[in-house]
Symmetry: C2
Subunit: 349 residues, 2 copies
């Protein structure tokens, strides 16, 4: 990475914007010395924050925007009323070629709608998907879709599998990522029709992907496969169920240590080891959901994250832009359309 890389930031998106966006950019600058930022948002609010970060200021171009997309605005309304907003301009910087990627902690639905409209989908992709990575027994895995599409057919799932495979190679650096379809059982007769048909297509594809068949909910944390493919309804619920369960377990551990004087001493002695565990499951570490399948890179940060989490989302954007993620996706889909495996009739064979 000797070439400077420009990232567009929606400075006004998220619960604690623009403060955590500026702080997150400052953290990301230290980790990625070649990065430059385009910052879109309210000059009056951002200037004072930048004053405190002179090193960051040198690599930032601040572009004033008046409008902010509210976090509860419907995507269709955001498309009509959101032109000129900080989110809109950050996405547009990517489609105009001024930035290699955009990052926002704002309204997910609005960001996806704007990104679709402004960037367009890649050839061969019917619907973009949201992907993120998370900790497992074996390291880290990727799951998609996490909420962009509540209903998916077999071809959508097949496309997600191919995109997820390239994502795992680019962001996690996995050489030959394994892929599993999330289902209610491992036997081929089980589950919904779309999942069964997608499995048949993936089993018969001539693409060089390692499809392992069906996986179940407990395979997500076990790390049985590198890429978990599912529809946006199931994926969103699985991700949030995992987050909620992790929170519950951490609370139970906390209560256990507070339950007696001896246990408190035990905690005192073990605290640095436990802190390492906290770091391993820290949701900020896994912040940065990627919108896959678009003709440009857009990364969504958790709305409630802090500076560290936002810096990690910027890191994901940088990895994707520097790794030539979209060129690889295009290549794979070029091969896929040559073999015509995504067409529904292939399922019947």
């Amino acid at each position: 990475m000797t070439e400077p890389l420009t990232i567009a930031l929606d400075a006004m998106g998220g619960d604690n914007a623009p403060r955590i966006v500026v702080k997150g950019a400052a953290l990301a600058r230290i980790r990625h010395p070649n990065v430059r930022f385009l910052l879109f948002g309210d000059e009056m609010k951002i200037q004072p924050l930048l004053k405190r970060k002179p090193k960051l200021r040198k690599i930032v171009s601040l572009i004033h925007t008046d409008k902010v997309v509210p976090s509860d605005m419907k995507p269709s309304l955001a498309l009509r009323q959101g032109r000129g907003s900080s989110m809109w301009e950050a996405i547009n910087a990517v489609s105009d070629g001024k930035a290699g990627a955009a990052v926002s902690a704002g309204n997910t639905g609005a960001l996806m709608a704007m990104a679709k409209l402004s960037l367009g989908t890649l050839p061969g992709i019917d619907r973009p998907a949201i992907a993120a990575f998370f900790p497992t027994m074996r390291g880290e895995s990727v799951m998609l879709d996490l909420g962009a599409n509540v209903e998916c057919d077999a071809n959508n799932l097949v496309q997600f599998a191919v995109m997820g495979e390239v994502f795992a190679r680019t962001v996690l650096g996995t050489q030959q990522p394994t892929i599993g379809l999330l289902n209610v059982g491992e036997e081929p007769v089980k589950g919904r029709d779309a999942v069964k048909t997608a499995s048949t297509i993936l089993r018969n594809t001539r693409l060089p992907i390692k499809f392992e068949g069906f996986v179940e909910g407990d395979d997500i944390a076990a790390g049985t496969v590198d890429v978990i493919v599912t529809d946006g309804f199931t994926g969103n619920i699985a991700l949030k169920t995992a987050e909620g369960t992790a929170r519950l377990l951490r609370e139970f551990v906390r209560q256990a240590f507070k339950s007696s004087f001896i246990a408190k001493i035990g905690f005192f002695l073990a605290r640095s080891a436990l802190r390492k565990m906290q770091v391993r499951t820290d949701p900020r570490r896994y912040n940065g959901a990627m919108f896959l399948g678009l003709n440009g890179i857009a990364v969504k940060s958790h709305g409630g994250t802090d500076a560290l989490g936002f810096a990690n989302a910027i890191g994901v954007a940088i990895d994707l832009a520097a790794g030539g993620f979209n060129d690889r996706i295009k290549e794979e889909f070029g091969r896929l359309s040559e073999t015509a495996d995504t067409k529904p009739q292939a399922a019947a064979s």
Copy 2:
């Protein structure tokens, strides 16, 4: 509970049958002094086990069966070939009125198919569902369906809500259980059509149930509502995702304590407090999934559980039989059909 209560046990179902079934029955006998058992299975294998449990032997009637339903047999085949098996006879003991409930750790799909055929569904119920309870921040909650129906329409979900409400009252003793529909967001516009329609029906029902609207994946462990309603595909994946995440977190805690000498001492001091935490999240404690909506009580134990887990599944069966669970369900559905709220046209109003 002064009346003796008879429970039919499939002694041959599960990974470690009949050993853990006999041991589990012995444990359950201590907790529930009025219980009697009908034990169905291979006499040659069960007699030697019973010899070691003289107190259990006094309250057991052993009925020999030759056949066992394999764990990977398709439900349709199990229905044709499974007659006379230990599973079949245990279920039949309930439909014949010889037992108040049946418990099996065998093939879930086969058990559901046999239970449907032999017991029949309750009036007003189109499809039975699988329900279980689990630990949360606030105590315990119930979730259904956990895998009986991979596709569900709005009316199925409404029926699950009513059954789940009665289940929470009977097994958890919750006075006025709150109900939530699992979805990808809390806003009414989000999610799948079946979920949105079910929400409209439940909002307008005249039944005295406390419907709280949509809940998300992280609300499961948070305990936001007492009853989580979802289709069998999503429910199965959410349950297994939670189990897998809990396993991952426990492993991370274990690794943290092994990471240094000081941490090991900390663990030594905190071990009894940590053991309490392990007990709180012990899957055996939450063993015993109920088949709701059948004209008789059938409880499914985890196939891989041990004697303690199997005893807990027997405990669930006893609670349901002694609490008059099915009579209460019939009552609620009587009221529901009076108000005609489950009919699809109600959704449009």
